[in-house]
Structures are given as structure tokens and as C-alpha cells.
Chain length 102, copies 4
């Protein structure tokens, strides 16, 4: 299972706000069963890598419209095969290590 | 004010776990007043850009040790000057847009 | 047409060298017609977005082996629909602007 | 020595072209001794990490102007301490591995 951060950036939008585009991209998640976490830097998806990449592609596509003809999208794929990576497990693992070191 | 995601990746660590290194990097935040958010893809810092970059540099340095002689670090800097970006504001702005479109 | 930078990072490799893994990932390009540019930060692919993403996925998969059970891969997708982006065109456009401003 | 890829992205520019902003950012390199490589995905800088980060910060700042009040900048820092990383060395190392495997 993979944990993938998706950040979509429209080029040539009117004004500096991006939330409208991020919110449109998030609508692509409504029809899926993927677990996700909205952060202030992007959207983190968890699931089978092929499924996650297909959804990330749709999020990217959703940003194009009559005004936007160029989109830059960043994907950070974290894929582990010896055990299942999850959004929750990754965070808990760090939090546990921090507590242990106190 | 800037919102900056920092992801540190040690190269040549023993085994596939990364949480030990992330937790060590997070210790660099203890002596600062920076607001931050731990996500499953990295650590998001909020503050004056110079201050945030200095802390990100220290997080990167903290990963080097006797075993690790190479570190790859990703920074995603989101810097807005017409109004103050915050971790909380960025998320709330997206969540509001999603609610409005329902 | 899209221009996509792919950076593969194995976790838990023996020692700090990465070139062996990058070279293995590049073998996935041999059977394709995709134009690409090898840089010191990654591999830049040019082509139809679906085709490029499929190849990027295979590059990511190629890094897993008996030793490596976790791979972090970064994709920077630059996708423009009003005209065709190419590796060469993007660089020439910047170089022309620099010359004009001298 | 570190090898750092810098990608600057203006938000809210007029139209989909980015080359004007990239070319302006590259002017920041003129007064430095840093080795760099212009690629179709960004600019790769080589040098002492502190010096490179200071220049990357100036490249980021250069994108702000009367029209642009928000800039997203990506840094990929590759920092190796057991031997000196260079733009040329990183590429040659991969090319050598590819040749050997043929």
C-alpha cells in the first residue's frame, strides 16, 4: 500500500488564491473509497498504488478549465512492500518515537 | 508569512523505517516558536521565511549521523505577501469552498 | 503534451550511492519512444501524460528488489494544453528570454 | 557539497507562460560563482549548502513583483558528506552504470 501526497498548482489563475482549485480536485475523491488527509500543503492519499495514481491523475485534470490551460502537479509517492503503509500508521510511528525519546 | 513543507529522507539507512529520522528532525522544532503540523508526508512549518528556512536546514542536518552520510530533503515553499498564509488558514479556506459547493 | 520529472529514491540501500538504482530505472525507457533528459536531479520525460505516467510507474517499480522494500518517488508534472510542452522548447524559451534581457 | 534543484512557480501570472519568471530568477546567479545546470524542470545549483540556499532564496524573491504576490518554490536538496557531490559527477556516475550494464 502506498501513501501519496498530491499538490495541484494552476498556472495563470486570476489572483493568488488556490483554494478553489484544491477544492475542485478534492471532489474527485468523493466517488472513491480511498482514505485521505487534507493538509495545508496538499492532499495525502492512501491505497493501492495504481488506484491512487489514477485518482491523482483525475485531480490534476480537474484543475483545467476555460481559464486554466497549464497545471503543475507534484506527487510524492511513498511505497512500502514489507508492510502496509497508512496515513495513520506513518504519523503514529513518528509520534511514538518522539514520546520514547523524551 | 510562509508555509513550508519539509521532508527529510536519509540514504543508506538500515532497513526501510524512516520514523526514527523524522522524529530526530522534529526535535529541532522544540526550541523555536514556529507553528507546525506533522503529516504523514512531512512536517509543515509556518512563519517568517528566513526563520523557517533556518529551521529546515537544521532538520536536514540532524539526519546525518555515523551511519548516514547522504540526505535528500524536499522543501515546498508557499509564500504569499498580500495576506498572511497560515497552516490553519490554508486548510480552512479549502474546507469552506468544499462546503459552499455542496 | 506533458513534461514530467521523475526522481526515484530507494530507502535502506547499502551505502550512500544511488546511481545503480537510477540506471536500473532508466532501462525502463529503452522500449519506449519517449524523449527524455537525464539531469543530475532526476529524469525528465516528455510525452502524452498517460504514457509518461505509466513509464514513471515502471521506473518506480524497478527500484524494488531483494534488498529494497521501500521506494520514495517524486513526480513533477508540467502539463500545458494550449500548446505542446517539450523538453527542448521549455529550455529554449528561457534561454531566449535571458538573451533578450541582456 | 550539495546539489539542489530549484523550481519557482508564480501564482496568478497573466497567461500560462513561465519562462519570463524563470529567466528573472536565473539573473540571481550572475553574481555568484555557483555552477548550475538549466533543465526543463528547474535550475540545479551546486555548491556549499548555505551558499546554495541563500541563492535559492533570492531566486524565489525575484519572482515577486507588482503582479505576483504569491510564489510556490520547490527545492530538492541532495547533500552528501562522505564525498563531494557535483552536477557533473552525479550524471557521469549514472551514465557509467548504464554503459557497464549493456
Amino acid at each position: 500500500m502506498a501513501v501519496v501526497e498530491v499538490t495541484v498548482v494552476p498556472i495563470g489563475s486570476e489572483g493568488p488564491s488556490l483554494s478553489e482549485y484544491v477544492s475542485k480536485a478534492l471532489e474527485e475523491l468523493e466517488d472513491t473509497d480511498l482514505k485521505y488527509e487534507l493538509t495545508s500543503s496538499g492532499t495525502i492519499l492512501q491505497g493501492d498504488l495504481d488506484e491512487v495514481l489514477a485518482v491523482a491523475k483525475r485531480m490534476h485534470e480537474s484543475v483545467f478549465d476555460q481559464e486554466i490551460s497549464r497545471v503543475v502537479t507534484y506527487l510524492q509517492i511513498d511505497d512500502r512492500r514489507d508492510k502496509s503503509l497508512t496515513i495513520r500508521g506513518k504519523k503514529e510511528s513518528v509520534e511514538k518515537k518522539m514520546k520514547d525519546s523524551t
